[in-house]
Amino acid sequence: MNQETEKQALLRALLKGSRENASQVIKQFIDQDHTIIDLYEYLIKETMYEIGYLWETGKISVATEHLASAIVENLMNEIYHLIATPEKKEDLAVICSIENEQHQIGSKMVSDVYEMNNWNTRYLGANTPKNDLIHFVKSINPKMLALSMSLFFHLPELESTLQTIKKELPGLLIIIGGQGLKHGSQDFLKNYQNVFYKPDLFSLDSFLKTQNQHD
């Protein structure tokens, strides 16, 4: 999909700090019959990666990066009416970014994909302390847990969370994703049953759809 024009327009709006313009770009994109997953993967994700590159190469400040994230999170809230489905199943999923992980836009998108597949969700956001997560999960007994990790150096935290869950909540289905698991860093997962790596929203969506068929 070539969404270069829209990407440039969204990038300009975010750099300018104009929530209004950014909202307009999103609205037009959706009006062109693109799906929410297309919007997330091709427009918002790509534009945020570009924002990251501009910070990395010293072209924008941390403040501008924060501004862009804040606008994007607002835009995602604005389109919630397109995500919420009236016919919820009984299934419940808990979604969060792991302990110390401050990046939460990816996990918020993941939560929306569950909702679009008629799941009930509890989205806990960024930096969820391991012990609190375990208590919370025990208290509401979800069918799935989805964890996001953006930085490779949070792998020890991810593994420690998986180990605790294996002991205390054996059998819980866990989906993990995020940029920190690129380049084969997810290989250690073969030591875990019930833990699956999904690199993007498309693969998560297909996985949830096959789950729906099994129900």
Partner: protein
């Protein structure tokens, strides 16, 4: 030098054992505070890291030990190389000098020697020597595609 050559040499670095990972990790805060202290003592620090960059330097040191802990545990050559290229590009574009890499890595080596048990130091040091030796390649690679 291409990434392939770096990959080939990095593949010879061995995965650390549990004890090494534990000791490095447990001493991380100490290593970082000694590292920051010794860099702050340098009279030419501003020339090395650029003005207004002390906090960013400290962030880098904190991230460095977390990153190395993870690399020691989950050895991953592609992540090692890509992350070093990323670090070089990011810090250079924020005003750090090329000299920062050799100063920093030599300083880590001194501190690790002081703080780690000999056998643990021996296991970790090949990583630092490899990074030090390959600074010129990382500088080149980080200047491409910008």
């Amino acid at each position: 030098m291409t990434k392939d050559v770096l990959t080939e040499s990095a593949n010879h670095l061995s995965q650390a054992c549990c004890e090494t990972i534990e000791e490095y990790k447990n001493k991380s805060s100490l290593l970082v505070s000694k590292m920051n202290a010794s860099m702050l003592k340098k009279s030419n620090l501003i020339n090395i890291v650029g003005s207004d960059n002390i906090e960013m330097m400290k962030d880098n040191h904190a991230n460095h030990v977390q990153f190395i802990s993870s690399i020691l545990k989950y050895k991953n050559t592609a992540v090692l190389i890509e992350t070093i290229i990323w670090v070089f590009r990011t810090y250079r574009s924020h005003g750090f000098s090329i000299e920062y890499w050799s100063v920093q890595l030599n300083e880590w080596i001194n501190i690790l020697k002081e703080e780690l048990s000999q056998n643990i130091f021996d296991e970790i040091i090949p990583y630092y020597k490899w990074m030090l030796l390959n600074i010129p390649s990382f500088v080149l690679l980080s200047e491409q595609n910008t």
